[in-house]
């Protein structure tokens, strides 16, 4: 039983060294066994962690801490064995708890004012931690 580690921007101090985001074994095993398309789309989650556009803090009302990493993977799985370009009007979001453990990754529609941010980003997060300006 081993977790998978993936380097990404440090959400506590983006100027500091990268952190290891953790894909927990329990999650990847559950996806592997019972949610095969989600398992394939962990590739998109890893892409987002390595090519993040925006990071938000304060993702939950009832749980302290946590971050949302947003990005735009080139492709994703839409059905078993079927790959398509990732839609231009969506962002792929990866949610991480305060222990840097990934617990959710998914597509969401983009905000009208910024295609790199999810819809209603102004009201649902604590704040913007980091934006990729390169």
């Amino acid at each position: 039983m081993s977790d998978f580690y993936c380097k990404t921007v440090n959400p506590k101090d983006p100027a500091d060294a990268a952190i290891d985001a953790i894909f927990p074994h329990d999650l990847t095993l559950h996806y592997y066994k019972y949610l095969p398309v989600r398992y394939e789309n962990l590739r998109a989650a890893k892409f987002v962690l390595e090519n993040v556009d925006v990071i938000f803090s304060g993702v939950r009302e009832y749980n302290d801490g946590g971050w949302c990493y947003c990005g735009h993977p080139p492709q994703w799985y839409v059905r078993p064995g079927k790959i398509e370009d990732f839609p231009q009007d969506m962002v792929f979001t990866v949610y991480m708890n305060p222990n840097y453990r990934i617990y959710e990754c998914r597509a969401e529609f983009s905000a009208n004012d910024d295609p790199k941010r999810p819809l209603d980003w102004q009201n649902r997060y604590g704040g913007v931690v980091w934006t990729n300006i390169s």
Partner: protein, 136 residues
């Protein structure tokens, strides 16, 4: 596409199974009834629903802040007992949990529609054994 980065870490058969799963790292329950990509629609702090890419079907949902809901409603208010073999097993009812989450916030038309959608998704009435609710 390239080889999966987790290739070799897991083995055995892969079979889609529409069953609710409590994820301790996210303190959330995810439930998906179809093995396909989806777009997530956040209803409120406690519920996100998963829509098919064509938007015409609800294929699942995520309930967040599970322990806060359990703490407020109590295990007894959310649990059901069932006979399995010769013993009785206590489980948390997903339907009861959705109702408890709905009651947490002011009633609005958007929330009502969102929660109704979640409860209309096929097989929503599944339960999760009490023993699985161990926080991370």
């Amino acid at each position: 596409m390239d080889q999966h980065f987790l290739n070799g870490m897991h083995d055995g058969p892969q079979e889609f199974r529409p069953q609710p799963w409590y994820n301790p790292d996210g303190d959330c329950i995810i439930y998906q009834v179809s093995d396909e990509a989806f777009v997530a629609h956040r209803i409120d702090d406690m519920l996100t629903i998963y829509r098919s890419l064509t938007g015409d079907r609800i294929i699942g949902f995520q309930i967040k802040g599970v322990h806060a809901i359990l703490k407020k409603s109590g295990w007894e208010g959310l649990s059901v007992s069932s006979e399995i073999g010769s013993g009785r097993v206590k489980s948390v009812s997903i339907a009861a949990m959705l109702l408890a989450a709905y009651e947490e916030k002011p009633f609005t038309m958007g929330r009502r529609r969102g929660y109704a959608s979640a409860m209309q998704s096929p097989e929503y009435s599944c339960d999760i054994p009490l023993a699985e609710f161990q926080p991370a």
